[in-house]
């Protein structure tokens, strides 16, 4: 009874009646005749950790800068907590931003940098510096408070910038590539720290990244951007399992893409003609497809199973030769050249296989379930 209630509460975006905390309404930003952000509409809820994901130059920073108030939208409106931000200057907005370039004040010590926001709020020096020391401890820089920014390494600077953006505990935190310069271990620790802050303080995060693993780990939802447009918004799983377009499928994780034509719709299965895969592929029936239509199929490498003997039960089976095997610890990646000449990638966990592992130049069967072959119309 109460189960769906909780689910709805922790995932407010699933309830269309809920008013989002941040509303981005048809935002467009042009620089001269170049459109950096093109008619983006987005609702982000209180306490979310929203990741903006996309390639370099697709307009992520520009969107963030409009939220912070450094760029004025050419068209459209931004509402935070129901308030139109149109005429609100950056220093009056309930947002704090961590800059891609860190933007540490070079003439101030690390602790003064971090305490600056609190001092501007009118907090006493002693209290502000005490809080700054706490923040610095959190980012593991407690002994660096007296240094100037130019005496720090890139990763240390990044952590100072993070501490400075977090210290005021604003309603909305905008982070532009917050973890790019950190090593793997520190990065994972900081990721969990971010999640902890988000959960304990209820701060709404918008994080820009072009690292899809990071987005997958951190985000409550992900918005995938391309050329100033948001291609898809969804929970990480949704984006991964049901990408709406070839771009999203390709951008999130690795994927094997096939071109195919709709052939016939049987009552329980639909047949696609896929010359690259060496014939017909069976997929679950879907609405909105017409006979003869060209579609794309996205097949995740981990959804494919390799075997030496032809599996009896599988409905989609391809024949090929292993060209390359890569060992990545917990799993192996295979490059298999199908008899059609098409190369596919397959990954398999290493605990699965008993006996002699499949190796170079072996003839194999690659099988997958009908649901694994995601049909994309774009």
């Amino acid at each position: 009874m109460s189960e769906p209630q909780i689910a709805a509460d922790t995932r407010p975006w699933r309830d269309p009646a809920r008013q989002p905390f941040i509303e981005i309404r048809n935002i467009t930003k042009r620089f001269g005749d170049f459109t950096a952000v093109n008619d983006v509409s987005l609702g982000i809820h209180r306490g979310e950790l929203f990741c903006l994901l996309g390639g370099s130059g697709c307009g992520k920073s520009t969107l963030l800068r409009m939220l912070a108030g450094f760029e004025t939208p050419t068209e459209g409106a931004i509402l935070i907590d129901g308030q139109d931000m149109g005429r609100v200057p950056p220093d009056r907005r309930p947002t704090n931003m961590m800059f891609q370039s860190y933007a540490l004040f070079p003439h101030m010590t690390v602790e003064k940098n971090v305490a600056y926001g609190l001092l501007r709020e009118g907090m006493s020096r002693r209290e502000a510096y005490a809080r700054a020391a706490e923040m610095l401890k959190m980012v593991k820089l407690e002994s660096f408070g007296r240094r100037k920014p130019h005496q720090l390494s890139g990763g240390q600077r990044q952590r100072v910038a993070l501490a400075r953006a977090l210290i005021k505990q604003p309603k909305v935190l905008l982070l532009d590539e917050p973890l790019g310069a950190l090593d793997k271990k520190l990065r994972e620790e900081t990721q969990f720290e971010l999640i902890r802050i988000q959960e304990t303080l209820g701060v709404t995060f918008i994080v820009v990244t072009h690292d899809q693993d990071e987005a997958m780990t951190l985000a409550t939802r992900i918005g995938v951007m391309r050329d100033g447009v948001i291609e898809q918004v969804g929970e990480p799983r949704e984006i991964y399992e049901n990408p709406k377009s070839r771009f999203v499928a390709d951008f999130i994780g690795s994927v094997n893409l096939f071109e195919a034509t709709v052939e016939a719709a049987a009552p329980d299965m639909m047949r696609l003609a896929c010359p690259d895969a060496g014939g017909a592929v069976l997929v679950p029936p879907q609405t909105g497809l017409t006979r003869g239509q060209t579609v794309w199929g996205a097949l995740r490498p981990e959804r494919i199973t390799l075997s030496r003997d032809r599996p009896d039960s599988a409905r989609n089976v391809l024949r090929g030769t292993v060209e390359d095997v890569g060992y990545v610890g917990h799993m192996s990646t295979f490059r298999v050249v199908l008899d059609t000449g098409r190369m596919i990638r397959v990954t398999e966990p290493n605990n699965l296989r008993e006996g002699k592992p499949i190796s170079w130049d072996e003839r194999v069967w690659a099988s997958f379930r009908p649901e694994a072959f995601k049909v994309l119309t774009e």
Binding site: A68, F70, T95, M97, F99, K168
Partner: protein, 268 residues
């Protein structure tokens, strides 16, 4: 290769001789005992003593220092504001005109600058009653205008180099625009402003032409006095004076160089 072996040292020697020979001979002759400028009469500091007893020169030196000090201060303020408006305020009405005007004194012949300022002061006196007569005030104003141009150029280039996101970050953390200017912008460009100040100070100390146009009775700057003295014949105490000025200028230049180096290191 063999050619380069002696061409380079020759060029260096030639350059140094060309640049410094006049200065060195001047410094050497300032310690000359003899009254005749061209005859060496043995070492003495006699002319430095005479210099200290020459009320006219001491007065002029004092005027020059006052003028240089105040016009350097004012030039830094005016030049910084001008540079800030041009670099940070984006596009506004009259921007191009201001760009042209602020750098005009750099390329304008001094005679024209001096003459136009003189005309301005005269007509201002006639219509507004201020500045009453010409003297210290008018020289300071005149020097401020042309020194401000140099400061503006230096400040502009520093502002352009400065990462604008520093100012944005301060805004983001709750500082208003004025606060940001004093907390962030000003400290970051301070080394440039200090060198601008020193440059303005030396330029003002050097100037003869503009000062001659806009000065009045009782307000003669050092270059004006030296120039009028030399026209009556070179006297050794002028050499002594010049040596002192060279000393001051050298120290100023060294300080500017040191500041710029420090700034380059911190800006990394």
């Amino acid at each position: 290769m063999t050619g380069r072996g002696w061409v380079l040292p020759m060029a260096v020697v030639f350059g140094f001789v060309f640049l410094y020979a006049p200065i060195i001979s001047l410094v050497v002759f300032s310690f000359n005992e003899s009254r005749l400028v061209t005859v060496w009469g043995g070492f003495s500091t006699r002319w430095y003593g005479e210099l200290l007893r020459d009320r006219q020169i001491l007065n002029a030196a004092w005027v020059s220092l006052k003028v240089a000090f105040w016009s350097a201060n004012l030039a830094v303020i005016v030049g910084t504001l001008g540079a800030f408006v041009l670099v940070r305020m984006g596009r506004f009405f009259g921007r191009l005109l201001l760009t042209g005007m602020i750098t005009a004194p750099l390329v304008m012949p001094e005679v024209i600058t001096g003459l136009s300022l003189l005309l301005l002061f005269v007509s201002m006196e006639l219509t507004l009653g201020w500045p009453a007569g010409r003297g210290l005030t008018t020289i300071i104003i005149a020097h401020t205008t042309f020194c401000a141009a140099f400061v503006a150029v230096i400040a502009q280039s520093r502002l352009r180099d400065m990462d604008e996101s520093l100012e944005e970050a301060a805004r983001d953390l709750g500082a208003g625009p004025v606060r940001v200017f004093f907390d962030i912008t000003l400290p970051v460009i301070t080394p440039a402003l200090v060198s601008g100040w020193l440059l303005a100070f030396t330029l003002s100390l050097d100037d003869l032409v503009i000062a001659s146009f806009v000065s009045g009775p009782g307000a003669s700057t050092l270059p004006m006095v030296i120039f009028s003295k030399v026209r009556l014949g070179v006297s050794p105490d002028v050499n002594a004076l010049a040596t002192i000025i060279i000393g001051i200028v050298t120290i100023a230049v060294l300080i500017v160089g040191w500041m710029l180096r420090k700034q380059a290191r911190a800006g990394r």
